[in-house]
C-alpha cells in the first residue's frame, strides 16, 4: 500500500467533532466536480490512492475516472463497504428480510424466503457475496487492490463472535477480485488476535491511531505494544483525533511508531492537503519508519 492514502469523510459530511463543519462540508461538496477538484489536488500533491465508502455518489466519481484513463492511470481506489447508513436506514424502514430483498441483486433472497426452507450456511455466505458484488459494481475497470470492510460491520461481527464471516470476506475478495481484504476497526488488538486465530496472518487493518488515544479501544499502550510485537499491515486513521491534536505533533507521533504501513487522512482545502502530505513525508524520512518504507 502507498504511504499516504486520501480519505472521503469530508466529501460526505462525516465530521467527528462538529455538526456545523459537517454541514459546511455538505454544502461545499454538493457538486461532484468539487469532489473531483479536491481529488485532483491530492493527486498533484503526490497521492495515488483514494479510500472511499461505497456511497452512491462515488459512482459518478468512478465514471469521471473511467472517462479520463490517461490522467488517472496510476490512480487506485480502496473501496470500503458497506455504506452502513444505507443499510441501517433500510433496516429501520423494511426490517432485515425486506432489506435483504431490496439490496441483494436478482431473485436469490426472494426465492429463499418463498421456499420457506431453513437456510444453509452457504446461503448466508452467498448473500454476503452478492452484496459485495453489488457494492463493487461501481468500481468496474478501476484498480481496487484492497477492499475494506467498514468498522461498524467488522466490529459488529467481532463482538458477536461471527468470525467465519470475517474470514469469508477475506476469501471472497481475493477469489473474485484478486484483491487483499482490509478491515477497518475501532478494536485493532482484539481483531488482530481473532484474525490470527482464524488463520489470517499479517492482515491489513485500518484503525484509529493517534497521540491522545481517541477511539483506540483498550488504550494507546495496547496498540503500541501490538505494533511493536505483532505482524500486521497497519493503516492509521484519525491521526488528528478529529482535530484535537496539532497536525505537526499528530504526524510526528504516528510516524514514530513501528509498523505503520499507511496513513489515511482527509482534508477539504489545498493548503491542508499539501501541509499534511509534507508533514508525513518529512517525518517518514526519519528514525524507525525508514525501514517500513524502504
Amino acid at each position: 500500500m502507498d504511504r499516504i492514502i486520501f480519505g472521503d469523510n469530508q466529501f460526505f459530511a462525516v465530521n467527528h467533532i462538529s455538526d456545523e463543519k459537517s454541514r459546511a462540508q455538505s454544502i461545499k461538496f454538493k457538486e461532484d466536480r468539487a469532489i473531483i477538484k479536491t481529488l485532483d489536488i491530492a493527486i498533484e500533491s503526490g497521492i495515488n490512492t483514494f479510500m472511499c465508502t461505497t456511497h452512491d455518489r462515488i459512482e459518478n466519481i468512478c465514471d469521471h475516472i473511467r472517462k479520463n484513463p490517461s490522467k488517472y492511470q496510476d490512480f487506485k481506489i480502496y473501496p470500503c463497504m458497506p455504506y452502513a447508513h444505507k443499510y441501517a436506514n433500510a433496516v429501520t424502514e423494511m426490517g432485515y428480510a425486506g432489506t435483504l430483498k431490496h439490496f441483494v441483486p436478482g431473485n436469490f433472497v426472494g426465492s429463499l424466503f418463498k421456499g420457506g426452507l431453513a437456510f444453509l450456511s452457504k446461503d448466508y455466505i452467498s448473500i454476503m457475496e452478492l452484496l459485495i458484488d453489488s457494492e463493487m459494481k461501481m468500481f468496474k475497470g478501476i484498480q481496487t487492490p484492497v477492499i475494506f470492510l467498514q468498522n461498524v460491520i467488522t466490529d459488529l461481527l467481532l463482538g458477536l463472535g461471527m468470525n467465519d464471516i470475517l474470514v469469508a470476506f477475506h476469501r471472497y475478495v481475493k477469489k473474485k477480485y484478486g484483491a487483499e481484504a482490509g478491515y477497518i476497526t475501532m478494536n485493532m488488538p482484539k481483531l488482530l488476535s481473532v484474525l490470527e486465530a482464524n488463520g489470517i496472518t499479517n492482515p491489513i487493518i485500518c484503525s484509529s491511531i493517534n497521540k491522545v488515544g481517541f477511539r483506540m479501544s483498550g488504550g494507546r499502550e495496547v496498540y503500541e505494544e501490538v505494533l511493536r510485537t505483532k505482524k500486521v499491515r497497519a493503516m492509521a486513521m484519525q491521526v488528528l483525533a478529529g482535530g484535537a491534536i496539532h497536525p505537526k505533533e499528530a504526524i510526528e507521533y504516528v510516524c514514530s511508531l513501528p509498523n505503520i504501513e499507511s496513513i489515511l487522512f482527509g482534508a477539504s482545502s489545498a493548503a491542508n492537503i499539501e501541509q499534511t502530505v509534507e508533514l508525513i513525508n518529512e517525518y517518514s524520512l526519519t528514525g524507525e519508519s525508514m525501514e517500513v518504507i524502504a
Binding site: 462525516v14 465530521n15 467527528h16 455538526d19 428480510a97 463482538g159 458477536l160 463472535g161 467465519d164
Partner: protein, 337 residues
C-alpha cells in the same frame, strides 16, 4: 462473570449483543427473537444459545440479567416477566407505552431490588455529562431559557410499513425520537412539570407524528422549547442538541461539541471569558470495546458495574425513564392539532 440473556435481536438488540459479546465480565447465555432468520444466523455463526420463546429462555438459562430490546408495546409484559423472575433488567427506551404501565414496573423493580436501567444513552456522552457538571456548579447563573432539539432522517418518504409507523406499538417521533431529548432535559435542567401547547405534526406518516414542537416548564419554573423532527434528511444521522441560556452565560451542546460562553470573568477552571469550545474527543474516556459510539459501550459497562455493586443504580433507572414517559403522556394530551 455476569450471565446475560437478550430478548429481541433487532437493530438495538444486535448492537447490545455485540458489545456484551466482547465484554470481559459478561457471558451471553441466551438470545431470543421471533424471527426465524435472525435466530438461524445466530445459530450458525455465533456461540450464543438461541431461543424462539423468551419465557423458555428465562426458565432455562439461569441468567443474572436480561436485556429487553423489543418494540415498546411488549415492554410492559416482558419486562414484568423478567422482573418477576428476579433478574436485573436493561430495557430499551421508552420504558412503556403509558405512564401507568411504567409506574408498576418501577414499583416491581424496587420490590425485587434488582438493577434496572433504560437505554437513554445521551447521558453517557462526554459533552452532555460536562453540561451536567457545569449546571450543577451553577456557572450560568440564573437559567432563564432552554431549547432541546433533535433532527434526523428516519421517515423521509410516504411509504412506511413497520412498527415505527404504528402508534399502538410505540411508533412515532414522540416516543422514538423526542423521548431522548425529553429525558435529557429532565436530567440536565430538572424534571419537566408542565407542557404548554404542543403541535404534533405528521409530515410523511399517516398514523403517527413526524415532528414534535412544544413549550415545556421544568420544576425550577424555567420554560423552554422542544423541537424534534425525524423527517429531516439534511441530517445524516440523529443529531440531538441543547441550548441553555443563563444570566451569566450560555451553553450550546450536541454529541460532538460543547460551546460555552461566559459573560464575565466568573467562570470555572479550564474555561475563560467569552466563547469556549470543547470536543467530545477531550471529554470522552476510551472504552474497552467500541462499536458505534462510546456511549453505547459505557451504558452497558455502567449496568454491569451496577450489578457488580461497583456503581449505584442511579443513571437511567426505571424511575427516571418513567418521568420521561410521564412527560410523553403530558405532551400527547396537550396536542393542539
Amino acid at each position: 462473570m455476569v450471565k446475560v440473556a437478550l430478548i429481541g435481536a433487532g437493530k438495538m438488540g444486535i448492537s447490545h449483543l455485540s458489545i456484551l459479546g466482547a465484554h470481559p465480565n459478561v457471558e451471553v447465555v441466551g438470545v431470543s427473537d421471533t424471527s426465524k432468520m435472525v435466530l438461524d444466523v445466530f445459530e450458525k455463526y455465533s456461540s450464543f444459545p438461541c431461543f424462539s420463546n423468551y419465557e423458555e429462555m428465562l426458565a432455562k438459562t439461569n441468567a443474572d440479567a436480561v436485556f429487553v430490546s423489543v418494540p415498546t408495546k411488549f415492554h410492559a409484559t416482558m419486562v414484568r416477566k423478567v422482573l418477576e423472575s428476579g433478574k436485573h433488567v436493561f430495557a430499551e427506551k421508552p420504558l412503556c407505552l403509558t405512564a401507568e404501565e411504567g409506574k408498576s414496573l418501577v414499583a416491581l423493580a424496587a420490590e425485587k431490588a434488582v438493577v434496572n436501567q433504560v437505554g437513554y444513552h445521551n447521558k453517557f456522552i462526554g459533552t452532555f455529562r460536562e453540561v451536567k457538571r457545569l449546571l450543577d456548579l451553577g456557572v450560568l447563573g440564573e437559567v432563564y431559557h432552554f431549547t432541546g432539539e433533535s433532527y434526523g432522517p428516519v421517515v423521509i418518504r410516504e411509504k412506511q410499513d413497520n412498527w415505527r409507523a404504528d402508534p399502538a406499538e410505540g411508533g412515532g417521533c414522540l416516543m422514538d425520537y423526542a423521548s431522548h431529548v425529553i429525558d435529557l432535559i429532565n436530567y440536565l435542567l430538572g424534571n419537566i412539570t408542565s407542557v404548554k401547547g404542543t403541535m404534533l405534526e405528521s409530515i410523511y406518516s399517516k398514523n403517527v407524528e413526524d415532528a414534535v414542537y412544544c413549550i415545556l416548564e421544568v420544576n425550577s419554573g424555567v420554560n423552554g422549547v422542544l423541537s424534534v423532527n425525524w423527517s429531516d434528511e439534511t441530517y445524516r444521522k440523529m443529531s440531538t442538541s441543547i441550548t441553555i441560556q443563563g444570566k451569566k452565560g450560555k451553553i450550546i451542546c450536541d454529541a460532538n461539541e460543547l460551546k460555552v460562553y461566559f459573560k464575565t470573568n466568573d467562570f470555572p477552571e479550564g474555561y475563560s471569558k467569552g466563547w469556549n469550545v470543547k470536543y467530545v474527543t477531550d471529554l470522552t474516556d476510551s472504552v474497552d470495546f467500541y462499536l458505534r459510539g462510546e456511549e453505547y459501550s459505557s451504558q452497558i459497562d455502567y449496568f454491569i458495574s451496577a450489578i457488580e455493586r461497583q456503581v449505584p443504580n442511579v443513571i437511567n433507572n426505571f424511575k427516571s425513564a418513567w418521568y420521561t414517559d410521564n412527560v410523553i403522556s403530558m405532551i400527547k394530551s396537550s396536542n393542539l392539532n
